[in-house]
Amino acid sequence: MRIELTVNGEKRAVDVEPRTTLLDCLRDNLGLTGAHAGCEHGVCGACTVLLDGTAVRSCLMFAVQADGIPITTIEGLAPGPGELSPLQDAFCETHGMQCGYCTPAMILTAHALLADNPEPTREQIVEAISGNLCRCTGYAQIVEAISLAAERMRGANRPAGQS
């Protein structure tokens, strides 16, 4: 089937089988390999992308279902080549990862959280990422990264001269 996906602000036409998952389509048809397969049954969250700003598991939906819905993948978060978003930079600052496999999905989930809630509590962060499994970190440095990014992003929005 021919469908048109809007990914990271760009319209991309692709031919897929009806059974092709959004995850496989992003990776195999569009070369967006930042979304990862972990369990392919909707538990680990490594395949998370944003659909119209909401974090969803791309392994649990078909590519055809995403036709026409704006999709954001990790490749769409960096402001430019070699530049990091405040959230990505915060993950580097706290070392909120190790092997990096769950990281893109974790960052997208956090991105969705901060878009909704610029000042999350620790509990709210823990709740938001509880659908994304990380086997390396024990989550502490991830929670710290999200907290740090929130703090920095709030600071950035304040008028100059205020702390």
């Binding site: 930042g34 049954h41 990281t103 086997r135 024990g138």
Partner: protein, 798 residues
């Protein structure tokens, strides 16, 4: 970070360079490797725990669109050698695909190659296999019985290994001790379960006679094992080390995957890839970890001093010998933990069953052994009505007793256990924690304090292999680093293995920057493929800070020495007068008389007329490092110097259990951690916290459970429960630093920390909580369902 550091970059709170690519989704994992014309493999697995494979009908599958080939075990076995197991058990061959008999549910029986993974899966379903189910055995103790079904009939028994070691005067010490007790502790079958499954891409070029392999691998001697099985020269296998590995923690040993795909690409003439799906990974990926039953007898006196211990460890290795039997060997190097136990009898038994094959898991058997030791210490305290902390303190090796040689022959390098424990309690007294526990108890909760004092042997030598199988003569395990500086002064260093999140590129750059007094961020670190590499034992045995860090240190010093020689010659001064500082060299008597880094690089690269006569031109140095304290084989009576360095961790926690629910909840967790000098504190902290989370999983949630029919019933993430952010409590880490005398900066290993002690501390806390009910539990995982039932039964009795 603890004490102020006298280093410039080492121990500084610096970023981890690998992180930049991961946050951008630009890691390059094996599934991202895109080689033109690659075909995909799906596996057909055996649905029975044991079965005779009577017939494999491939016709329907081969007729399906996009299907290229169906491979069975006979064809593969004829063309390849069995996989290396390291044991001297020739009648227990291990092969990628079952031949005639399948021995566990999920074992690979055939492989389909098709244009896409989806088509390969479709075709796998169309392969019609006739099985004749055979008797099977799942339980290790039953597998030892005379009338048990045999997993490998030709072997004549289910016992792969049964070896008893006696170190010291065990019987005498038992006879002389006024008190004895015994306990049985079981570590349930769990594993590391990375979020990325195992994957491999193999591509054979018949014109160059080269097998290129990209794999999600963490395994020593991988290329040579692939070559051996495929019967091609090892120089015809090129493993690409620049593949990011999405978590491993020991387990990613995909040798059967590589032999299978290596054979297929040679047979078919196009690249082939096998990326396990979760089910293939959990059932047949040979990725299970220890399932170990301990029977411990301990002899002690009335003050709680432990004199002797007899430990019998029975490991249920599953259907084939992976690394599992050797995981009974490594704990010999710290068989008494941090305690002064004079004599030990250790019986290690590895038994075959019809379960999935095991590979290496974080700690290589040390986690289960620590659980047994720490449960033992608590039971000694409990028997004597003494405080468990006090009993430990009475038995701990004292700071002034290092280096300390344990009965099994290994010398512990350094430690200050008492100082770590004192620090853990500084500001938050033990009494306060007890009061908090007692308050919870008063409120109707079950509550308990858990303590575990554990060692992390580090530096990864392979001496345990020779202990388990005397035919093995490996006495070291190297790592290496090469540094080159080009004519412009740009520095490139190499490492020679894959990494799975340990930040090794950061390690290499930090160490070289420290030695050369140059910003590590300016140092490029690359990973040549295996044919261009120097020796590396790979990141096993908590060794890379020690070994790769050590190799980088020595290589950088060689480079520095060469720079000094070149500068002294060019400045016309004796080398003794030349001083190296921040990349430049000057005359200490005339500091303005100097050569900059760039000038020296240019001389070495382009101006041989300015080089000291006889000195090799160019700035390229390398260092190959053996394991410190290694180099000897075990003695005939089974004593060995195992790993060089011993990190210490002291876990302290408070657990509460709502008696109506049976769910243990960790309400306080403090860890004292001493891994010597921390080269990168962010990395050490991450590994430690991640290890604790992994340990919480093993202690409370994770189990590859089987039903009575021999089927694995935890084969998805809905049944095999990895801790989420909700299950991992905040952990306070208290660092202490006792440098190792055997390493270049005093560093020790930290890759296994947390995991090695968390399960023991949790088990002790839960037992402390259950003690008022008069019950105890020594089987991991401590699942809420099991605990809930036990608590309800105990309350009904009252």
């Amino acid at each position: 970070m603890s004490a102020p550091s006298h280093f410039r970059f080492v121990s500084a709170d610096r970023r981890v360079r690998e992180d930049r690519r991961f946050v951008a989704g630009k890691g390059r994992f094996v599934a991202d490797v895109d080689i033109a014309n690659t075909k995909h493999v799906a596996l057909v697995t055996c649905p029975h725990p044991a079965a005779w494979i009577k017939n494999i009908d491939k016709k329907a599958a081969l007729a399906m669109p996009g299907v290229h080939y169906v491979l069975d075990g006979h064809e593969l076995a004829e063309a390849t050698s069995p996989l290396v197991t390291g044991l001297d058990t020739p009648n227990v061959p291990r092969r990628p695909l079952a031949v005639d008999v399948a021995r566990f549910s999920g074992e690979w029986v055939a492989a389909v190659v098709a244009d896409t993974r989806a088509l390969a899966e479709d075709a796998a379903e169309a392969i019609d296999i006739t099985y004749h189910p055979l008797p099977f055995v799942l339980d290790a103790e039953k597998a030892l019985e005379k009338d048990s079904p045999l997993v490998h009939a030709e072997h004549g028994s289910n016992v792969l290994l049964d070896k008893t070691f006696v170190w010291g005067e065990v019987e005498k010490d038992f006879n002389d001790s006024p008190r004895k007790l015994s306990l049985r502790v079981k570590w349930g079958r769990s594993s590391t379960v990375p979020i990325e499954t195992f994957g491999v891409v193999a591509s054979w070029d018949p014109w160059r006679e080269m097998l290129d392999v990209w794999a999600s691998i963490q395994m020593p001697r991988y290329p040579e094992q692939i070559a051996g099985a495929l019967k091609i020269p090892a120089s015809s296998v090129r493993l690409h080390h620049d593949v990011d590995v999405g978590g491993s923690y020991g387990i990613k040993r995909g040798i059967k995957h590589a032999v299978l795909t290596g054979y297929l690409t040679r047979r078919l003439g196009f690249p082939v890839r096998l990326i396990e799906d979760r089910l293939e990974n959990m059932r047949g990926g040979d990725a299970h970890g220890p399932e170990r039953l301990f029977d411990v007898e301990v002899a002690f006196d009335n003050s709680g001093i432990v004199r002797s211990m007899k430990m019998r460890a029975l490991e249920n290795v599953g259907a084939y010998a992976g690394r599992s039997p050797f995981q009974l060997g490594k704990p010999i190097g710290s068989i008494v933990g941090p305690y002064k136990i004079k004599s030990v009898e250790y019986r290690a038994i590895a038994v075959l069953t019809n379960k999935t094959t095991q590979e290496a898991v974080r700690g290589f058997g040390q986690g289960p052994t620590n659980l047994a030791l720490e449960r033992m210490m608590d039971e000694v305290a409990n028997t004597l009505k003494l405080d468990p902390l006090e009993v430990r303190r009475r038995n701990l090796i004292r700071h002034d007793e290092f280096p300390y040689t344990i009965p099994s022959g290994t010398e512990y390098d350094s430690g200050n256990y008492e100082a770590v424990i004192t620090k853990v309690f500084a500001g938050h007294g033990y009494d306060d924690l007890k009061k908090e526990r007692d308050r919870l108890r008063k409120d109707g909760m079950l509550a308990g304090i858990g303590i575990a004092a554990c060692l992390e042997p580090s530096g990864g030598n392979a001496t345990f292999e020779a202990l388990i199988n005397p035919k093995v003569t490996t006495s070291t395990f190297m790592d290496s680093c090469r540094i080159s500086v080009d004519g412009t002064g740009a520095i490139t260093a190499t490492m020679h293995t894959t990494s799975s999140g340990q930040g090794h590129e950061t390690l290499v750059a930090t160490v070289i920057g420290e030695v050369l007094q140059i910003d590590p961020d300016t140092i490029r670190v690359t990973r040549p493929d295996s044919l261009s590499s120097l020796p590396s034992g790979t990141p096993v045995g908590s060794r890379m800070a020690i070994m790769l860090g050590g190799a980088a240190f020595h290589a950088a010093n060689k480079l520095k020495d060469k720079l000094i020689k070149i500068a002294a010659h060019d400045l016309g001064i004796p080398a003794e007068r030349a001083v190296y500082k921040d990349g430049a060299v000057f005359d200490k008597d005339a500091p303005d008389n100097r050569r900059t880094w760039k000038e020296l690089a240019t001389i070495a690269d382009r101006n041989i007329h300015r080089m000291p006569p006889g000195l090799e031109p160019g700035l390229a140095v390398s260092h190959i490092m053996p394991v410190p304290t290694g180099g000897t084989l075990p003695t005939p009576d089974g004593r060995a110097q195992m790993y060089p360095c011993f990190s210490f961790e002291f876990h302290l926690m408070l657990v509460k259990i709502d008696p109506d629910l049976g769910v243990p909840e960790i309400v306080r967790y403090r860890l004292g951690h001493d891994c010597g000098t921390q080269i990168n504190p962010k990395i050490v902290r991450g590994m430690t916290l991640g290890g604790i989370a992994h340990g919480i999983g093993a202690a409370l949630y994770e189990e590859f459970a089987y039903n009575d029919e021999g089927q694995l019933i935890a084969q998805t993430f809905m049944d095999y429960l990895l801790p989420s952010s909700h299950e991992v409590p905040p952990v306070e880490i208290v660092d202490h630093e006792t440098p190792s005398p055997h390493t270049v900066f005093g560093q020790k290993g930290s890759g296994e920390s947390g995991y090695l002690g968390a399960p023991a501390a949790i088990a002790n806390a839960v037992n402390d909580a259950l003690r008022p009910l008069g019950i105890s539990v020594n089987t991991l995982p401590l699942k809420a369902s099991r605990l809930g039932d036990m608590i309800a039964a105990a309350r009904d009795k009252d």
